[in-house]
């Protein structure tokens, strides 16, 4: 039975209820810019934000689904479905969504993460209705056929091959993820792997679509030169009669131990420089520890004047490449550093230098000037997240799905109120002897 037919009985019910939806409307006062939140009767969350700088509107629809929702043997299905969302629905032909947006002069794209899939477009503000019509059609009635699934699988397998050819360190970084995140749902790659993609059937895709691509599992965000009342009328018209999907059972999330450590070495025939990955498991990103940890990330590795850049790249010239960040995967977080060096000696020196900088931060309180610099850089990057209508729409959608709250001012204040004492305390608590190290040797 096709997805379209499955939706018919629900459709009848909701046809009667159309126009009766009485959304909860709330104006969030804790935001850095005006935001209005509604909920349709079918569970679709709607966020509106006016911005009259230029006559454009950005529309993002984000579904709470990603690689974390995939079952073993079916990895890559979330990303595969993201691609299939451009291959036609009941009233929109294959690739027509893209053609429609281009003809308007608009831009569009999509992205799949561990636990979200976002579709976004930026168009002239007079084109809001056609964009909502397009998004509603593929939410309501995506056409999934065997030939489309086959074609998408072939394209995805080719993409994986291209990624591997392009990035000689891809395999080692995936191996490091398997060490750091022991459970499948966190460590398998978003783009899947060749063997599991081959196993995905059209039935699997249809089931995944009908389970997660539902109004009650999505947030629709409209930002730009809009009339809020008129925009809500359009939203109700195009989305209000789409039937609510089945309740999605809450995920069985896993935790990891903060008191494990591992050191491994791999030989990489593709690599041209030796390097290593270093990782520290951290507490949940939903905890209050996350705020000082984020400041620590800036002190240690963000920006050209961060401690590790200053020492490894500029002063001692022992690393040729240095990248690191706090990685969030739903309820888990880890601090990850990747370093490339010229030879084994500088690799050893780089490792030593990193541990020495970590120890310094544990034993000596950071100066007010350095702390201010870290906070200003964080504030700049935080601000960039809402520096255009599209950035705002993505920011709002992601934050809403992540925390179900829109009080950004409060969140920003939490980062900006971190103290030197908190940093020392957190460093001593989470940057101890329990770390994960993967050395990469060239062959």
């Amino acid at each position: 039975m096709s997805i379209k037919n499955l939706l018919i009985p629900f459709n009848l019910v909701f046809f009667i209820l159309a126009g009766l939806s009485s959304p909860l409307s709330s104006q969030d006062q804790g935001s850095l810019f005006p935001v209005e939140h509604h909920e349709l009767q079918n569970g679709l969350q709607v966020i509106l934000s006016e911005d009259y700088s230029v006559p454009v509107v950005s529309v993002v629809i984000a579904y709470q689904v990603g690689s974390i929702h995939e079952k073993p043997g079916k990895s890559g299905i979330a990303y595969l479905l993201e691609n299939l969302m451009f291959q036609g629905s009941e009233n929109v032909g294959p690739m027509q969504h893209i053609n429609f947006i281009h003809r308007m002069g608009g831009n569009l794209n999509a992205v799949t993460t561990e636990d979200q899939t976002l579709f976004y477009q930026k168009v002239p503000s007079n084109q809001l209705a056609p964009v909502l019509w397009l998004e509603a059609d593929r939410m309501k009635s995506l056409k999934i056929t065997s030939s489309k699934v086959k074609k998408a699988k072939t394209a995805l397998i080719q993409e994986i091959q291209q990624r591997k050819n392009k990035d000689p360190y891809l395999e080692s970084s995936l191996y490091f993820d398997r060490l750091l995140y022991p459970h499948f749902i966190y460590h398998h790659p978003i783009f899947g792997n060749e063997s599991s993609i081959r196993e995905i059937t059209p039935g699997d895709v249809k089931e995944f679509y009908s389970s997660y691509y539902t109004p009650n599992n999505a947030v629709l965000c409209i930002v730009g030169h809009i009339n809020k009342k008129k925009s809500m009328e359009m939203v109700k018209k195009y989305f209000g009669t789409i039937p609510k999907g089945k309740e999605i059972p809450s995920m069985a999330l896993r935790n990891f131990s903060l008191e494990e450590q591992t050191t491994r070495t791999v030989e990489n025939p593709l690599a041209s420089s030796p390097g290593f990955y270093l990782g520290y498991r951290l507490p949940s990103p939903y905890s209050d520890y996350y705020y000082p940890l984020k400041i620590i990330e800036y002190i240690l590795i963000k920006g050209d004047s961060s401690r590790l850049h200053e020492r490894l790249i500029k002063k001692e010239h022992i690393a040729t490449h240095l990248h690191g960040e706090i990685e969030k995967k739903k309820n888990l977080a880890a601090f990850k550093i990747f370093v490339l060096t010229n030879n084994q000696i500088t690799r050893k020196m780089s490792r030593k230098a990193i541990f020495s900088e970590i120890n310094k931060l544990k034993s000596t309180a950071i100066s007010e000037d350095e702390l201010r610099k870290a906070k200003n850089l964080l504030r700049r990057n935080y601000t960039y997240q809402y520096s255009s209508t599209l950035n705002k729409a993505i920011f709002l959608s992601e934050k809403f799905l992540e925390r179900k709250k829109l009080n950004f001012q409060v969140e920003l204040e939490k980062y900006l109120s971190v103290t030197p004492n908190q940093i020392t305390r957190i460093m001593n608590k989470y940057f101890g002897p329990h770390y994960f190290l993967l050395n990469v040797n060239i062959k």
């Binding site: 006559p55 009941e90 308007m104 503000s125 084109q127 200003n376 255009s388």
Partner: protein, 494 residues
């Protein structure tokens, strides 16, 4: 009363079921609301009310402009020096680019590292870029640090320190970048195209090489800086929540001692047109699927042909719905992509088409691109296509102004080429009246169907498929002409 019309209970059930199934069967056509069948029409085109550019000139002739905007608490400062790569001496290509990149690498008081630290302390982002006609410093920072930002900028401009260690470091960085690009067919083919199109023209400087960079000396940099970095040859633009009077007062405070001086200018001249089809092959190791770059000269930016040319570019290769993409990728299946591009400078423009293709179909792909170009030079483009292209351009224009970074890029062009506020306010009015005949008239003025064609790919994979061409100029990946191969003739070695 018994009645003929009485329906037996069994039949009743059957009829009910039949009715149910009839209705059920017809549900798909009824279940879908009518509005879902076709897209709704858009609303009328909104008014393009764009922020005003307000300007003043300081006593040292430094021009200060402000675009006042409420929004994120960030100010973007752009210092433009109206000397670009075309101003590098003919024997020192790359000098303009090198000089701009030296600016944050040390002042009399601060080292490169200290400057980076000061930039990041105010939540700053600093970058430089050098174009054909101008050089740019882009500096954005948290709005409360305007004084600190201007003070730092003034130190770079008033007390630069082109020390030898940093010159060596920058040479190393540029050499790494060029090495990284040594197998990048996009970069290499563009560099060769510029080199060929701009023979004996100052714009050829943009095609600088590692050897050009390595010969630059401290004296060259200081001289270029002294001759070109003058307030009467510069413009500062600030975008953010500040007024022109605040900006003027503060810029003047930090930069009023910047001394003006006559700057020798190169008058714009249109390079000689390439009037003969020239096929070039460049051997780029490890490139299995070659890039084809087809290009020729077009109108300069500040010229009435700009708008019809923009429409032409859109019809041919602006997006995946344009002619080239639809033909080479969707219809023939030759290419991974095929897009056209219009780059406009003060003296001229370059209209180019870039395609990535399978090696087996190189010859056919080049022919297909040339045929598409020939078509627009032989007959006017149908009106519906012109209207579709215009609709895209009108819709797309405000999108590029929706972020402070892209807004700054637009402003840079307006400032560099004195396009004035009208350039964006009248954009719709300039595009709307363009018709098929107008585009056709402009197309015929330029020898677009006699372009330079660069094919960049690995020789081993590609060269066999090039044998149908009558004449091929064969280059190495450094852009050096190795020989010319003519069909059924002996090679002419260089």
């Amino acid at each position: 009363m018994s009645s003929l019309f009485q329906i037996p209970p069994k039949l009743k059930i059957i009829l009910t079921l039949l009715l149910f199934f009839l209705l059920w069967g017809s549900i798909p056509s009824f279940s879908q609301e009518k509005f879902r069948k076709s897209p709704p029409p858009p609303d009328p085109l909104p008014q393009l009310n764009l922020p005003e550019i307000k300007s003043a000139v300081l006593s040292n002739e430094l021009s200060v402009s402000v675009v006042q905007q409420k929004g994120p608490p960030i100010i973007t400062l752009q210092l433009m020096v109206l000397s670009g790569e075309k101003s590098s001496p003919p024997d020192l290509p790359g000098l303009a680019s090198f000089t701009t990149r030296m600016l944050p690498r040390g002042t009399a008081a601060f080292s490169f590292s200290e400057i980076q630290e000061r930039i990041e302390s105010i939540g700053g982002d600093f970058s430089t870029s050098t174009h054909m006609d101008y050089s740019l410093i882009n500096f954005s920072f948290l709005e409360q640090y305007l004084d600190e930002a201007l003070q730092l900028l003034s130190r770079m401009i008033l007390h630069p320190d082109f020390n030898k260690q940093e010159i060596a470091n920058l040479k190393r960085s540029i050499n790494y970048e060029l090495m990284d690009n040594s197998t990048n067919p996009k970069f290499l083919s563009k560099r060769l195209l510029y080199h060929i199109l701009f023979q004996d023209h100052p714009y050829q400087n943009m095609a600088y090489t590692k050897e050009d960079i390595n010969q630059i000396t401290q004296k060259d940099i200081s001289e270029f800086f002294e001759n070109h970095y003058r307030p009467n040859n510069a413009k500062i633009t600030l975008v953010g929540n500040l007024s022109l009077s605040t900006a003027t007062r503060k810029v003047s405070h930090y930069l009023n001692t910047w001394r003006n001086q006559d700057v020798k200018k190169i008058p714009p001249s249109f390079p000689e047109l390439n009037k003969k089809l020239k096929i070039c092959f460049m051997d780029v190791p490890r490139v299995k699927n070659p890039i084809i770059l087809v290009g020729n000269l077009a109108s300069p930016i500040n010229h009435p042909d700009f708008f019809p040319f923009t429409v032409l570019n859109q019809v041919l290769g602006g997006t995946p719905t344009s002619r080239l993409f639809m033909n080479l990728r969707e219809s023939k299946g030759y290419a991974f992509y095929s897009f056209s591009r219009l780059e406009l400078f003060k003296s001229c423009g370059v209209f180019s088409i870039e395609s990535k293709v399978r090696p087996q179909v190189i010859f056919d792909s080049v022919q297909a691109v040339l045929n598409e170009v020939k078509k627009v030079t032989q007959e006017p483009i149908p009106s519906d296509e012109i209207e579709q292209a215009k609709s895209y351009l009108i819709g797309n224009f405000p999108l590029a102004l929706d972020h402070f970074r892209s807004l700054s890029l637009q402003l840079a062009k307006i400032q560099a080429y004195n396009l004035g506020q009208y350039h964006w306010e009248d954009y719709y009015e300039k595009i709307k009246p363009i018709g098929a005949e107008g585009v056709f008239k402009v197309v015929k003025k330029y020898p677009l169907s006699k372009p330079v064609v660069i094919i960049a790919g690995e020789k081993e994979e590609t060269f066999d498929y090039l044998q149908k061409f009558e004449e091929i100029y064969v280059y190495d990946s450094k852009g050096k002409l190795k020989y010319v191969q003519r069909k059924k003739e002996k090679d002419e070695s260089y």
